[in-house]
Symmetry: D3
Subunit: 285 residues, 6 copies
């Protein structure tokens, strides 16, 4: 076996490294610096971004033509034996763990595992395995008040709480312990455990999140740094300034997330494309 089986219609960027035992099918288009390991199978139509890595035995298999194009964005990585069905997008920086069988698209920087694959974390902005930083305990040590995080402008708040045999109380005061006066609130509930919500940023709207029942996790991302916060106590709140990319997931079955927003709803105010968010965040920084 002296050379990889690469279909004549495949297009490769510069600096790509394809193992001789790999198979690259028709209509595969690669960016620069892609690494294709031993035994990897990539069927087209498929678009692969710069610097993607496919470890040994990973399979991108659209199967039937009707499943459509696969898009693997820049810096994504498929670990050993990972399988991606047709018609999906593996967004920039995402990681598909060993043996994961991906049946739904994967958002930017997410880490997925299992069969079927589910999101188990987010790639942090620095080295390490994921975003599971239990930030709340740090707050606990400070009594009430806010502490800063590694994500620009994001603060974690501990609100006053009164525990009592006759029932408990947790209190927030707008303009005092809550850093703005809200124009609206909304409640999110009944979210299936596998669902991911948010995945957008706001241009001008500020948010203040309190998980008032059960628990969920919030990932906040300023375009440079990303951090995950576990909200499992109604006396802990997370403040997200404008131009923060936010994701909520790992909802417990009984989770109720209360969100205060500084503005009325305005769809034009949402940034739903991660690349656009990155550009805007860079300009602000």
């Amino acid at each position: 076996m002296t050379s990889a089986s690469i279909h004549p219609s495949a297009v490769m960027g510069t600096g790509c490294d394809v193992h001789p035992s790999a198979v690259v099918g028709a209509n595969v288009r690669m960016g620069d610096g892609v690494r294709i390991g031993p035994g990897v199978l990539v069927e087209g139509p498929c678009t692969i971004g710069d610097r993607c890595v496919f470890e040994a035995g990973s399979v991108v298999g659209p199967g039937d033509a009707e499943d459509g194009n696969v898009v693997i964005e820049q810096d994504a990585r498929l670990s050993a034996g990972a399988i991606v069905r047709g018609g999906l997008v593996i967004a920039g920086g995402a990681r598909v763990q060993a043996g994961a069988v991906v049946l739904r698209s994967v958002p930017p920087h997410a880490i997925v595992a299992g069969n079927p694959a589910q999101i188990v974390g987010y790639v942090p902005s620095f080295g390490g395995e994921g975003t599971d930083t239990p930030a709340a305990p740090g707050v606990a040590a400070h009594g009430t008040g806010a502490i800063t995080t590694r994500v620009r402008g994001v603060t974690l708040h501990r609100l006053p709480r009164v525990l009592d045999l006759r029932g408990n109380l947790s209190v927030g005061e707008f303009g005092r312990s809550v850093p703005f006066a809200p124009k609206r609130y909304f409640l999110v509930f009944g979210v299936p455990n596998a669902e991911i919500r948010g995945e957008h940023a706001h241009r001008t709207c500020k948010q203040f999140l309190v998980c008032v029942n059960g628990s969920c996790s919030v990932v906040a991302d300023d375009g440079r740094h990303r951090e995950e916060f576990v909200l499992d106590d109604s006396a802990i709140a997370l403040y997200l300034p404008p131009l923060t990319w936010g994701i909520q997931y790992k909802y417990s079955a009984d989770a109720v997330l209360l969100v205060f927003a500084s503005e009325f709803y305005d769809s034009a105010e949402y940034i739903r494309d991660y690349a656009e968010f990155r550009r805007l965040a860079e300009m602000q920084a």
Copy 2:
């Protein structure tokens, strides 16, 4: 047996009606128009207000002297076989149901039943059995928006709600669907089922109540009319204007009540005495 056994130290008002088989002990002080039924036992020290009714076989038994004085306020009624221990207050207009064994003081207009007795409702301002008016369905028929109630200024609101397989949303906008801009919010949770909360009115503060998980009941009282509202849906809210006596109870084990208040906390702003509330409410009406 030709006459009731009434202790010489007992003091009776005018128009009282004591059944001959009853026993009225030392240090009992009755108001006017009290009715004491057959077989009733009232031991002192006990103070009984005007127009109270003791049905057959009811017992007011302070027992040991250290249990202290019993106070049965005006218009209270003890039904057949009810038992009241020493040291308690049965407040004005309360009803102790047949066979109830009362071990804790009973608030104004409350209806208690069982052994031990628990609050099961509130005497409504008009005829009928209790306050269990399921007001919410009436709102349901109106989509979103507010409807008035029998209690002065109190309105019931249905907020927009989006149900979705990926999770549900309920939204309130301050100054729009919520009739004021809040200065604070508080969460009430972990309330034992038997607990009663509230039992006060505010001089100037407005409140907006949403049960965001589980369910509870709210009694609103303007001094003339009283109505009970079941909050069991995070898209239903109750607005309480100033000078409304409010009570929350029947909390489910998982209930989380979210309250928006138009003012910061100020203890001077609370009216905790029902009689004082009645006077102020009368002046305003």
Copy 3:
């Protein structure tokens, strides 16, 4: 205290025995052989049948006039401390246990207990405490097939059953293991634990009852003998011939009762009055 306090308007039959400490109020009408124990309070309007027994401290307290007449039918018994509100019927042969607070009418031969009182059994046709005869185990010993009971024509059936790791099966064959060909079936489900169903007999319709989920109890009564059967296994069935008074109760929360009937529904075919049933059953016997 030398004599009982009996109101002049009360009417007593022959052979009544009223304890001197008891109070019998206005508009009480007693049959023959009634026994009224110490401390008993009976207010009118109340009609008491022959041979009723009121044990020490029991109270029949209509209270407010609007509650209306109490009827205690023949052979009923109120045990020590029992309380009966106005407007109710304690039917013939019923027993109100010690301390029970009766807020609903009590059907014939029922035994009620608790606060509020609930039906806990039925007075059997012979001596003993109740009807709780676990008849099913007797059947269990016989494999499949039918066994007779003490109630005329009523048979208990064990149907074939196959238990298997892949799921279980229970089978009935009409005209073979089921003693008739059904014209209809019905399912009873979602019955609150405190509910009593049935309380009627059929003139011509045969019934075959199988509790296919959860459990319930069936009381069968031929006018002379009465027996209670626990149905808690879908391989056990109860056959009720025409002219059998049937009651179902003690439904578990998840009970589903499957009933096969030999006739289509015909309301004229139901006997809902126990006295009429007794007459018809006597004629047939």
Copy 4:
């Protein structure tokens, strides 16, 4: 009404105090210093020990003769409205709370409440409401090791415990953290919540009790002092020396109590009569 209705066959000791409205029936035999409150009904056959107290409206109602003799032992107290059926023993020092309906015999010093009455605590050896002393927290503050209690020779032990995400460990060493080398162990499980176990002392056997799952309560009594211990943690143990009267109750549904005994089983070694225990304990003290 000028005097109590006392049956000629009743026998009363010296210093008894019977309220004029009470009824004391045939075959009631009272000790000295008994207090019978207003409206009390005591039917015979009934034996009442010294210093018993019957509060207002309580009823001792054997009802039918076949229910048999009631025995109320010395220092027992029936609170207002309590009802005791025939054939039972209310043992020395027991308390029947207001409104309780007693259907089973009550052991020494027990406090019963409810309808039907259940044991809710034990009268402590000093003043106060009951035995619910949460002794364990006191131990918690001491790390591992033993602390003494108010009951002679009884010690409470905190055993080493290692908590770990991979599973937890709790360890006891015989002759070191466990004060003796056991000859046997036994496990108690599947105890219904209403059951009371133990109610005996040992002549020579030492015991070491650990609740290894769920929770239960242990009452230890040296004849002078009595204390209740909640065992709800497998790292907490209770040592009972010989001649300690022990009771276990309030078993949670999943409770498993592990007991080490210093001797093999020997029925002659058990003291099951409380009065005998008191004598032996006095001799030792």
Copy 5:
């Protein structure tokens, strides 16, 4: 890499398409028109029917000789990365989803997914993803009565139902709302969620299925059309005429399926081979 690695002992039909990177081992016998994708590994002994498809990276790996022959019947499809152990049958028309690990045989037209693979649906008779057609809501709109389905002779029935606070009732009348008079009934219960039941047709017997507790799904197939019905309401029933292939699966833990059959049990009356069923169904059509 210029040619596939095909063992000399492998036998291939006409029109097969084997990717050069695939490996076909000894003792593999293929029908006509089989497609073998890139990187596919097929070890023998293995028999593959006409028109089967193996997507990229799928593996048929008997492993040890003792695991025995693999049979992939005509029109079956293995999606990307699917794995099939030795000794199994993947029946005609079945689909193994991407990454599924098949450890048990797969019945005709079933869709399996996951690790280990479980049945998640059935391939419908027309294009589309599966059989998950929630047919019941269609019925709901029609009140009671029957509606036809796409499967020959199969009808879906809504039976009368009475909902009541005191318990609910659902009724069927034989020869009226139920289209035949039954000779027997059977109950299926305690079926593990992963189990598939039925998988046979009857020559002459009619069936009427009601899920009286919990829920299950029924697939009905007339040899040409196949449809899946969710039974989750005891007022919905499914009628299956003779010569209908029926499958029940997706049983909830508490499911109880009641089946009425028009004939007594006769094993000769069952058709358990799907190919034979297809032949008989074709003859009748």
Copy 6:
């Protein structure tokens, strides 16, 4: 395709059999008699023991260099499509089932399956699928007493048990039904289902294991024979003599394992290396 792709730096023992389609990467070091099936991918650094088997399509993919060396010990087997991440040890004799995705190291003789892979059994000392021998029923037939097993010196004990409506009792006597006098006991609880505990032998300490709540499985291994025991009844105990390799797993959520040990804790007394254990066990045999 005429030869396997074997990296020049790979080292192979004698008698290895590598399929031409397999890929063996840099820094792979194989022992003797290793079998590498079709399409297998083994990336280095990786050390493979004698007689290991890699079935079709299995992948050993360290991926990033930082994941580190993979060690597959002698006699281990990877079934079709199995995936092993970098940095792990698959210990001697272990089996990775088809399609399993191994993310944690696998202990000696363990069988793992699923994604992520979990231990589902242990390879027995003789032929067969695993160790799931429900040994306890054999004991049940013998009443109380001990029976020998296939593992040297290991005995299974049935202890006396008394079942009673008021609670159950199970008893062990040290030196009698328990074969030694313990110096300590420990309780293991709160073990996650996926955890494996034990995996060591003792030089001199004897152990006696009783699962007093819930259930767990114990594998006992004398170096020649291995057997698995289900402990799910507090009247069943397992005695392990010194020099027995013991593993506990399959803990139910509520499992509490009580272990008596004949010696105080001494870390020098533990043998934690399986190979060393084998040597010592051989010397003793």
